[in-house]
């Protein structure tokens, strides 16, 4: 062995040793836990759908392997047998694979949360791990992110629990999923997801790659919080409780590389075209990274890829960005652009394909036109059929002849109603069962007007079963969001109403406290928990509390109270609840906030302005408010005519006068 070769190996060995101390692990969730791809995913789990003639899960595994992952746990639920078969046959399960793949199946997973709870229960991860879905296509080198993550954890004593990978891409990019549109607030220096820190950036040019680097705590946190279902729940939970639990989430923004999740057909379309256009290099069709026999293809000009034994008829053109699988034959005078055609397809003469995605064993007769549609395995399109944009022909459907399918038509061999019948055990039922029920309902006749005289299949309507949650879920192609201005105001309104409900809750709490004589400490506790439940800031809490207390007599005895009655009933209340106030009013700013809340209330209730002095007096006596704060408020607080008017109130003037004198006296005494 030559010296150079030896050195080389030694270098490898040392780096391996380092990694061997803590082999990088990954959790791959091969289930989407939603039904976006129905009815396609009724026959084939989403992770196995072909993208560029390669199952999506292979892209994800290749991505993980190339980033140096040595152990991957694949969690499957829906059609787990198929995924298992696929993986066992693939190169990932060969003994030489650098990435050891464990397949874990269970019918009980209903969400990402379940999977991670299981990870925790089985104690699978020992160190930081990468969390991805089985439909992520990426070539991002996350080792940098991983390093940053580990460094942060070393420095900050495990405060950072998760690093999410984002990719820069400006709005309007076709690979930006409209539904995943995120606006991220981050601390510019520490790259931390932030809420309410002093200095942060707000970014709208980020694409969520759905790749996250998690510390083992993430699994534990999912166990602790059994209501977390998705990663979004988790992120929200962490951010809301950041002050309490001290956990943080960081992000890693990359400029190069490619990463996207195929979350709907729109994304499928754009990821597929990105892949054909070589954005995901080196994961290109001709690279045959799955290492499967006969999958290889050649790449030539204008991104035209041809598999083995492809035959192309006379006068046919493959314009650009075309991928054709092996043993596919194409007739004469066809015009193909931006399309992916699977293995063993036959295509007739004079066919026009644009942005078509055809999977394996598809038969297309002559004079067919297909635009931006998905045609699944075994589908047959008869003569002179036209598929307009965003059509989907699911497995084994037959269409035509002489038919034009309107935009957005979805045709499946499964009857949509049968769908509803076994709705409940959808995730539990194994394939067998579905097969049975399919046979039972097969009796329902196909509608020749919809699928053509020789057609087989049922039309799925997009609005078929918008049971309760989103009709989004049914919308295969994803939605095109029209930026409507109303949505903003809506969200504001909802915030407003949140304040309102919080106010009512506080009122209820105080009332109960009074009736049942609850200790003030407990009241504080309850209000605190309400604060977290409604996500209210401390300042707002205090203002609302002040307001509630001051309005209390009105609430109890009607608004027709005289000032005297009002003060009479309010002052004892103030005395009882003064510990509550004292708990919230601590800093100088709190005093001012409280005072402005008092002022606001009395500006609204202008008939009772005289009572204000008494209230302030009482609060001063109870040491809720300090005299300095009151004086400061009095001198600076006036912002408009009304509040100036208020300050001219004789009683108040006197009170202030008195305060000032008192202060002078005390200071004199001090001297």
């Amino acid at each position: 062995m030559s010296s150079r070769g030896g050195k080389q190996k030694k270098g490898n060995v040392t780096s391996e040793q380092e990694e061997e101390e803590q082999p990088l692990q990954a959790v791959l969730v091969a289930d989407s836990f939603n039904r976006r791809f129905f009815p396609i995913s009724k026959d084939q789990p989403r992770a196995l759908l072909p993208l560029g003639n390669v199952a999506m899960i292979d892209y994800t595994l290749e991505f993980l392997t190339s980033t140096g992952v040595q152990e991957t746990f694949v969690f499957c639920c829906w059609m787990s047998n198929k995924i298992k078969d696929h993986l066992l046959k693939s190169k990932w399960c060969r003994p030489t694979s650098p990435n050891v793949v464990h397949i874990i199946t269970s019918d009980l997973y209903r969400s990402l949360g379940d999977v991670l709870r299981d990870v925790d229960a089985k104690n699978l991860v020992r160190n930081d791990f990468i969390l991805v879905y089985g439909d992520v296509v990426s070539n991002i080198d996350v080792s940098q992110a991983l390093q940053e993550h580990r460094h942060r954890r070393k420095v900050d004593k495990n405060i950072s629990v998760m690093t999410m990978v984002f990719k820069e891409s400006s709005p309007g990019h076709k690979s930006r999923c409209e539904e995943d549109d995120v606006i991220v607030a981050m601390d510019s220096k520490s790259k931390r997801f932030s809420m309410g820190t002093d200095e942060f950036e707000i970014r709208h040019d980020l694409l969520d790659c759905h790749i996250s680097i998690c510390s083992p705590q993430v699994a534990e946190l999912f166990t602790d919080n059994f209501d977390y279902q998705t990663r979004n729940d988790f992120v929200r939970g962490i951010l809301v409780n950041e002050e309490i639990l001290g956990n943080q989430i960081h992000l890693y923004v990359t400029q190069d590389g490619y990463g996207a999740r195929v979350s709907n057909l729109q994304m499928y379309d754009s990821v597929s075209s990105d892949m054909v256009r070589r954005w995901v290099y080196p994961l290109t069709p001709e690279a045959n990274f799955t290492d499967q026999q006969g999958q290889g293809c050649t790449h030539s000009r204008h991104n035209v890829y041809r598999g083995a034994e492809v035959s192309l008829g006379h006068g046919s053109q493959m314009e650009e960005n075309v991928l054709i699988g092996r043993d596919t034959s194409i007739g004469a005078n066809c015009h193909i652009s931006n399309s992916v055609i699977g293995n063993n397809c036959t295509i007739g003469d004079n066919v026009v394909l644009d942005r078509a995605h055809m999977w394996n064993n598809v038969h297309i007769s002559s004079n067919v036109e297909i635009h931006q549609s998905v045609v699944c395995d075994g589908a047959v399109v008869k003569e002179a059929v036209r598929l307009n944009k965003q059509c989907v022909l699911a497995y084994n459907v037959v269409i035509g002849p002489n038919l034009s399918l309107p935009e957005g038509t979805v045709v499946s061999m499964h009857h949509p109603e049968e769908e509803e019948e076994d709705d409940d055990d959808e995730f539990l039922s194994d394939d067998q069962e579905v097969g049975h029920s399919k046979d039972k309902t097969r009796q329902k006749a196909f509608n020749p007007a919809e699928v053509g005289p020789e057609g087989k299949g049922y039309i799925w309507k997009a609005s078929m079963n918008d049971t309760e949650d989103e009709e989004l879920a049914q919308c295969l192609w994803g939605l095109v969001l029209n930026p409507d201005p109303e949505s903003d105001s809506e969200s504001e309104a909802s915030e407003e109403s949140q304040d309102r409900t919080f106010q009512l809750e506080v009122l209820g709490t105080l009332q109960r406290g009074l009736e049942e004589n609850i200790v003030c400490d407990n009241l504080v506790l309850e209000i605190n928990s309400l604060k977290y439940a409604y996500n209210i800031t401390l300042k707002e809490v205090m203002q609302i509390l002040t307001r509630v207390v001051l309005e209390y007599p009105f609430q109890q005895q009607g608004t027709q109270l005289t000032t005297l009655q009002y003060t009479g009933s309010l002052l004892p209340l103030l005395k009882t609840w003064s510990p509550v106030f004292k708990n919230y009013i601590k800093r100088a700013q709190d005093h001012l906030d409280c005072l402005s809340a008092v002022e606001e209330l009395f500006l609204e209730q202008d008939t009772h302005q005289t009572a204000m002095v008494k209230v302030l007096m009482k609060m001063y006596q109870l040491e809720i408010l300090e005299e300095e704060a009151i004086l400061k408020w009095f001198s600076t607080g006036a912002t408009n005519d009304k509040s100036r008017q208020l300050r001219k109130n004789q009683g108040l003037q006197k009170f202030i006068q008195w305060l000032k004198e008192a202060e002078d006296e005390s200071s004199e005494e001090g001297e």
Binding site: S2, T96, S170, P171, H173, Y258, R278, P282, E286
Partner: protein
């Protein structure tokens, strides 16, 4: 069983190498130099020779061919891998012939005369078993490795013959060989190097930094300025990815521009290429000739809307026809492009050209 263990270890090594090749070269060209790739390939083939089960030279050649096919398929643009496989095959043939006791002559290049007189193809089947064959082959491969170690130095040693004082040299992109060549000349002579940056990967920047660190006067120019600057240049010295069988080059994008500009100004174009870059491949429109990488460098992914409206391509290599090349400098000396075919027949056995 230790034998099985060894074999598993071997396949693992090969798989790792293949995976490396597949992922290698994300855009900016191979992460390691082709010299290193050549050495690694050879070392791996030596391991195969030492550890695989074979009883005769024929078996061994079959094994090497099989692995070689997989390696070349993994990254077709990395021709050094294939070249090394061919070299090893040639070594096996030679060692076998020597063991049989036949003279070197008989196994030499078939001349027209010999083809005429021999009558039919050679009926050599490499089936005979020789005890020392394994050791001999490994020994020969070791020699090859030693040769590979020294290539860059051998090329650099010739620098003083080609670079004279106060010359202006142009180069394009980054080549480790050219870098060593220029640095070697800089020990004795003062000269000025102009580096074309070679967009979009701009390896030229790195080259320029390295050269200026060796206190060579260096200027970086944009690719568009190549023709304008060429009139001042005395000599163009470039590296290449592959030397093709016809004496042409497959080199980094922009090299053809440089070569044409040099021809227009009658500036000599010198190519520094170690022998292991010599490939029996001919230039053709075939698919493996080109390499397209992610268009990210040309138009960043962050661009947004425009990306959905345009097609972006990012090819890596240029073809430079042999007419434009004045001289090749390899580790065994200078050669004209027209002599390449001869070198080729010395390095590789004609029957091996297709793996």
């Amino acid at each position: 069983m230790p034998g099985a263990d060894k074999e598993a270890d071997l396949t693992e090594r090969i798989e790792a190498f293949l995976a490396d090749l597949k992922r290698g070269g994300c855009g900016t060209g191979p992460i390691r130099g082709s010299g290193e790739t050549a050495r690694e390939t050879t070392a791996l083939l030596r391991k195969v020779t030492a550890q695989a089960r074979w009883s005769s030279a024929g078996d061994l050649m079959e094994i090497i061919r099989k692995e070689g096919r997989r390696m070349t398929a993994a990254q077709p643009s990395e021709t050094t891998v294939g070249n090394m496989v061919l070299r090893v095959l040639k070594i096996i043939r030679e060692e076998y012939a020597r063991s049989r006791g036949s003279s070197e002559e008989t196994d030499q290049q078939e001349s027209l005369h010999k083809l005429l007189t021999s009558g039919g193809l050679s009926d050599e089947n490499f089936r005979q078993h020789y005890v020392h064959l394994k050791a001999n082959v490994i020994e020969a491969i070791n020699e090859l490795l030693t040769e590979l170690e020294g290539t860059t130095d051998n090329i650099a040693m010739q620098a003083l013959e080609h670079i004279h004082s106060n010359e202006v040299i142009m180069t394009v992109g980054r080549s480790r060989t050219v870098e060593a060549f220029l640095k070697d000349a800089a020990r004795k002579r003062k000269f000025h190097v102009i580096v074309a940056e070679c967009a979009p990967f701009c390896q030229g920047h790195e080259m320029a930094t390295n050269l200026s660190k060796a206190s060579i006067e260096t200027t970086v120019i944009a690719d568009a300025a190549i023709f304008a600057v060429m009139s001042r240049v005395n000599k163009v010295i470039i590296g290449t990815q592959t030397v093709l069988a016809n004496g042409g080059l497959r080199a980094v994008n922009g090299t053809h521009t440089v070569a044409l500009a040099a021809r227009h100004h009658s500036t000599p174009l010198i190519v520094c290429a170690p022998m292991f870059k010599l490939s029996p491949q001919f230039p053709n429109e075939e698919d493996t000739f080109h390499k397209f990488v992610s268009p990210h460098e040309v138009l960043p992914f962050t661009e947004g809307e425009i990306l959905s409206k345009v097609n972006v391509h990012c090819p890596v290599f240029d073809y430079v026809p042999p007419e434009l090349i004045t001289l090749f400098i390899s580790n065994i000396g200078g050669n004209a492009p027209s002599y390449i075919y001869r070198l080729m027949s010395e390095l590789y056995h004609p029957e091996d050209h297709d793996l």
